[in-house]
């Protein structure tokens, strides 16, 4: 017990890092998903192909490898560019936080692309026509009519993506981000109590994912409010 108290501060700050990375990559993943789905549904065959390549690659390569390749790949590239200008450069990398957040956002975004694409196809084309007939621009139609309609259909699967996103944050410790798995490794090395230290991590994750699940349930209810008392 005293071991846990000794490490509680580190766990707390580790958990904060997890929440921060979740928030940042969630925003990016939604953006990637919307862009990807729009590209897949566009008439441009170049856009279709780029979006297909994106989903094939990021749904087909293990998450851990994406994070490693993204981090080391960007570091090697940046370092060699740096050496062109300052030959004495030793090592430049993207902060593990941003490299990790970006990598998992790309992965979850590739799943969201497929979810959003399907949901966009479920939007009644008549409603989109009505928006166009009222003189709404393409951009307004997208954000005020198509996305709110699509959102209701996408929510159930998107809840799963949010849980994956949350759990994927555990992988970022491999590139040295000081989140809770990283803290548990350190604590295990010192206290020699791996079971306790990793169990704490599991409980932290479980409590966060429970909150996410409850939030998703509330969101689904909210997004279906216009169907309550339907005639």
């Amino acid at each position: 017990m005293s071991d846990l108290i000794a490490w509680s501060d580190d766990y707390f700050w580790g958990a904060m890092v997890v929440l921060k990375i979740f928030a940042v990559s969630l925003v990016m993943a939604v953006a990637f998903g919307l862009i990807g789905a729009t590209a897949k549904l566009s008439k441009s065959s170049i856009a279709n192909k780029i979006a297909s390549a994106y989903t094939i690659v990021f749904r087909g390569v293990p998450e851990l490898l994406v994070i490693l390749i993204f981090y080391y790949g960007s570091a090697i590239t940046l370092t060699s560019i740096g050496r062109v200008f300052y030959p004495q450069t030793q090592f430049i990398d993207i902060a593990p936080f941003w490299a990790g957040a970006f990598a998992i956002a790309l992965i979850v975004g590739s799943y969201a692309t497929e979810t959003f694409r399907g949901a966009f196809l479920g939007v009644d084309p008549g409603i989109v026509e009505a928006a166009r007939a009222l003189g709404l621009s393409n951009l307004h139609t997208f954000f005020y009519v198509r996305v709110p309609q699509m959102w209701r259909l996408a929510l159930p699967s998107f809840g799963n993506h949010m849980l994956s996103l949350m759990k994927d944050t555990a992988l970022i410790s491999i590139i040295g981000l000081e989140e809770i798995v990283y803290v548990a490794e350190m604590a295990t090395a010192v206290t020699l109590k791996p079971f306790t230290m990793y169990m704490i991590v599991a409980l932290i994750y479980l409590s966060i994912t429970t909150v996410i699940t409850l939030v998703m349930m509330a969101l689904e209810k909210h997004s279906n409010r216009h169907l309550e008392g339907a005639l």
Partner: protein, 248 residues
């Protein structure tokens, strides 16, 4: 009537439209003056819908020219948006935004397209809901309204943009019989106020009451276009006579 009232607000010149190999519109020529009420009728698949959807460019015509209030419809986005602001449209299946309440359905385009302030948009929207006799339903969602109420909200939504012309694409065809009259009443009021209207409908009673001219279409062509009384009393083509016999 002064001279500007005589000028056609909508002009279609030799308009053709293809869907793949199928020719939906064949050399359509039509002029509608300001304040004129035109009813378009004809069997299904005759191109009525396609024709009025070309007027606000929900469909793009393949050849010929279309002018709305002096603006030619081309692929220039700015012109299309300008035309759509002048032309209101009411659909067979209402097409209300399901995620917005009735009043928010009206306010959306006021805010986004007309850039009206929220409080002012609410006032305008309320006024138009009163005009179609359903102010008490303002805060309900479309799924909580009857078909007739939904269509009246849809009419109010188009009207509150203050359009020069209103297009109606079979506005009562999806309605239960007892709800048809409440929608037609609103449309008749509108006609009496002098709105320029093009209405596709099979409601011949309404056509007789309201229309200045009747257009009969078949196989993508305008077969006959005549003042209302003449159309019913004295149809020229055999095709029109047959259609009237079936429908009356």
């Amino acid at each position: 009537m002064n001279e500007s009232d005589q000028k056609p607000i909508i002009i279609l010149e030799d308009v053709c439209k293809f869907f793949g190999d199928f020719q939906a519109l064949r050399n359509i020529n039509l002029q509608v003056k300001k304040g004129e009420r035109v009813v378009v009728c004809g069997p299904s698949g005759s191109g009525k819908s396609t024709m009025i959807r070309c007027i606000n460019r929900l469909e793009e015509h393949d050849s010929g020219k279309i002018f709305v209030d002096g603006r030619e419809l081309t692929s220039a986005v700015k012109d299309i948006d300008a035309v759509r602001r002048e032309v209101g449209m009411v659909f067979q299946s209402f097409n209300l935004f399901p995620h917005l309440t009735a009043i928010n359905n009206l306010m959306l385009a006021l805010k986004l397209v007309r850039k009206t302030k929220k409080s002012e948009a609410r006032e305008i929207a309320m006024r138009f809901l009163e005009r179609v006799h359903i102010p008490e339903q303002a805060d309900k969602y479309p799924s909580q309204l009857s078909g007739g109420q939904q269509q009246r909200v849809a009419i109010a939504r188009a009207l509150c943009m203050n359009p020069e012309v209103m297009l109606f694409d079979e506005p009562t065809s999806a309605l239960d019989p007892e709800m048809i009259s409440e929608v037609l009443d609103v449309m008749t009021d509108l006609a009496n106020e002098g709105m320029t209207m093009i209405v596709i409908t099979h409601e011949m009673g309404f056509a007789r009451n309201v229309a200045d001219n009747i257009v009969f279409m078949d196989c993508g062509q305008i077969v006959e276009m005549k003042p209302t009384d003449e159309f019913f009393e004295n149809p020229e083509s055999e095709r029109t006579k047959l259609f009237l016999e079936q429908i009356l």
